[in-house]
Symmetry: C2
Subunit: 335 residues, 2 copies
Amino acid sequence: MDKRVATIQDVARVAGVSTATVSRTLSKPSVVAESTREAVLNAVAETGYRINSTASNLRRQRSGSVIALVPNLANPFFSQIMAGMSAVLTPAGLGLLVADTQTGTDPDERLSHFLRSGQADGLVLFDGSLSLAALDVPRRPPVIMACEWMAGGLPSVRVDNALGAQMAVSHLAAKGHRAIGHVTGPRGNVLTETRLSGYLRGLAEHGLERRDSWIFDGDFSMDSGAAAGKRWMALESRPTALFCSSDEMAVGFMGAVQHAGIRVPEDLSIVGFDNIDVVGHLTPALTTIRQPRTTIGTRAAELLLDMIEVGSLTGPSEVIDVEFIPRKSVGPPPG
Amino acid sequence: MDKRVATIQDVARVAGVSTATVSRTLSKPSVVAESTREAVLNAVAETGYRINSTASNLRRQRSGSVIALVPNLANPFFSQIMAGMSAVLTPAGLGLLVADTQTGTDPDERLSHFLRSGQADGLVLFDGSLSLAALDVPRRPPVIMACEWMAGGLPSVRVDNALGAQMAVSHLAAKGHRAIGHVTGPRGNVLTETRLSGYLRGLAEHGLERRDSWIFDGDFSMDSGAAAGKRWMALESRPTALFCSSDEMAVGFMGAVQHAGIRVPEDLSIVGFDNIDVVGHLTPALTTIRQPRTTIGTRAAELLLDMIEVGSLTGPSEVIDVEFIPRKSVGPPPG
DNA sequence: CTTGACGATGTAATCGTTTGCAAGGAGACT
DNA sequence: AGTCTCCTTGCAAACGATTACATCGTCAAG
């Protein structure tokens, strides 16, 4: 029977009012008289009317969605953050668009593209390696960073990464380790650098030796952790404990050394960072620094909503507490 | 200097042509004369004009995005599929909206909502537990299912789950196992049921005993796998091998029994399903059935694009091959 | 020279809402 | 009774693009 989908005109006709009244009934019910309101709502029910968000967005000069721009969509680390964001955005009537900076050629260009495209009322940026210049587009929507951050005053939601790293080192030191190594993320990454500096600060704090051969380059991936594990085994003088800059690398590292017969934590202690879901089920369960991902998502979304609401390009940042999660992958040094 | 963002009108004025010509230059360049085309493109560059997709979408009666509707956004299983979808949708000029069926009250209602909302030109549905009735909305966009599926002719992209399960059992049988258990997903779920039936078929094929106490209820999560592991340990007569309906449960199961001192694969062999990233780095690395997630994402997106293009609510389905991945979690039965 | 076809461009309606402005009506107050 | 407020509602102009249709040359064929 319904050839076309009902428009606000149809509702107006059925209810015997103007489209303006229908629109007001739906957006600001308080301003219309009770009786008309009722008539309109009946007409809405009768026609099965659903508001056309595209038209609404055009008129209101907004887009109705927020973009989450991550370095790599395939990275499962972000899924829980997305869930947190969605939990905030959905009730606010905003959709969640996802995109990554790896697709296409130039990541900066991709960010600029989304900012000019008008496809989003706000953007949550998870990639701190982009340039500030990419943000310099006329009439851009508000942007907030999450997890990573950049110099330049963009608001952000993150944890105190250096502190987390320091906590990891302190725990290892407290267990008696004097030779503590580190597996880094990709050089230049802000998480890599702050966790590295936290690690170094931890060493200094406990008067421990810093040896460059005990610092292994990684890229946050499991494979890079496994590669670091192999390099660790090739060392003549090995650290007895390792702080890995991500759980993924810790998993890879631990897998690689275990496959070679090394026992964790008897022969080697390992601490990770992030507390991704799987690490509690490993053997041994991994001691790590928890980063509350859901909270990061919800807070980033909330702060962004505030900025959108007041139409401001700046806003407050937030630092969320990390939490030390002791499990079974740390023991006293061997011998 | 730029107070407002440039519109097509501004470009038309600068280029000295009508808006129609500007529009045509941008969408169907072949129909405009070379000289005008050039003038228009210059004007575009000069004004910094970006097409307003909301206006364009309104006029063209489309939305410019596709929704991925998953049971739970926090589930990292989907991230790689999303990446596959995004890789196809982005070049096609479509955005990827994500949402889950858990938020809010009624999952069916949520699906209907998105279908009527006009927010998407198409929808990829990952939740097979919804009712067909929820799809019965006037003028709905095309829908394709991925991973899961439902009776009722909705096109889908999936793997042969029963076959995968059967491969797992066959491999265990070939290693000499006669007592093979199973950890299921949530009852009623189509993946649960087909993998279960594949498991049973595998048992029958090799003349193996089927014992109800060897079938453990799970829900695909790691915790449920761990719980199943505990129940396995409490058994007096234990199966010597387990096929878990998901890698996550296999991880949980293996962790639980290992923490209790059981050795894998010496005391117990385990096979999972999915081949999630982490399982190759476990100790022992997990033998599993691979489900090509990126391919599932790209194919689902491609088939959906086809449906959108021709405006059809139906289309072909596709079954993607599973792959057996032998690793180290399977050995001969003990004794 | 006339006619027809074709290629390139402009005119203007249209997509479905929202909202500033104005107007009508009902009380309230003087 | 007159005037001043509110409270409701309608009118009509946006929002910024796309596209059916009309128009205007130009050129080739008859």
